[in-house]
Subunit: 143 residues, 2 copies
Amino acid sequence: MTSTDRADGHLSELRDALVRMSFTLMAVLTEVAAEHDLSLTQLRVLGILRDREPTMADLATFTGLERSTISGLIDRAAQRGLVTRTADPHDGRSVRVGLTESAHRLVPEITAAISDRITPLTGRLSIGEQKRLIALLTKALDS
Amino acid sequence: MTSTDRADGHLSELRDALVRMSFTLMAVLTEVAAEHDLSLTQLRVLGILRDREPTMADLATFTGLERSTISGLIDRAAQRGLVTRTADPHDGRSVRVGLTESAHRLVPEITAAISDRITPLTGRLSIGEQKRLIALLTKALDS
DNA sequence: TATTGTTATACTCTATAACTATA
DNA sequence: TATAGTTATAGAGTATAACAATA
């Protein structure tokens, strides 16, 4: 049985609330990215590279994008001095991507900006409610 | 004081949880859209048109996109038989956009597919937890 | 043979700027 | 003058297909 088959009360409410929250968050992230002259995808890649030095193929897997897409993305990021490509010492085919010094300084700035923009959204929740929200989201995500 | 200035404990946790959830949701929506040969933006526009017949300018405001972007978007959607443009009777400059019959049949299919894909995500939450999550998200969003 | 990465190509999304028509 | 919508243009993001180099 799929959800088409029934009225599914609170399930559609949950779907709608999550979708609304996601679009709202994406708008915030897109805005913050734009203020730093980045696209949403570039922002995401920088976030991934924050504590990793993956290969191009790894990046494709992480993001769910094609390797060719990652090539273009990293091309443009490298041109802007945000990332570097280095040959993998263990596999002559692989290329490892890492943040440059300046990008390493940029990322915390961006996450701080995101926090600031999210505050109005979560401002109507008490500290206790915020903690409960964290717990619920984390539990759902870690499944 | 901005969040750069302090360690801000659970606030960064909340930010990360919301961002993670949003990227996960966007991946789900993008996948479902792709299965119906739609982009994420087209999916979003169909959702907006579900219970409204806005002008092009309204659509631009709702989505935060430029009017010229909406023009192209609606062009392509119309070409695929998803939407129609009709002249606004009260303002000769305005154009109202509405779903076609076939799109009206398509939208519930898509929302059902989204519900189904979200279920594994929320499956580890009890009914009570799901209801609490709805309440918290709604409270945050309606601020 | 299989995998990694790049390139070529095509299409969608997006914004800016210039334009027409209506208010 | 101001607003609604379109068009032209340009750049980013994306996928598919073909390719070279390495495993």
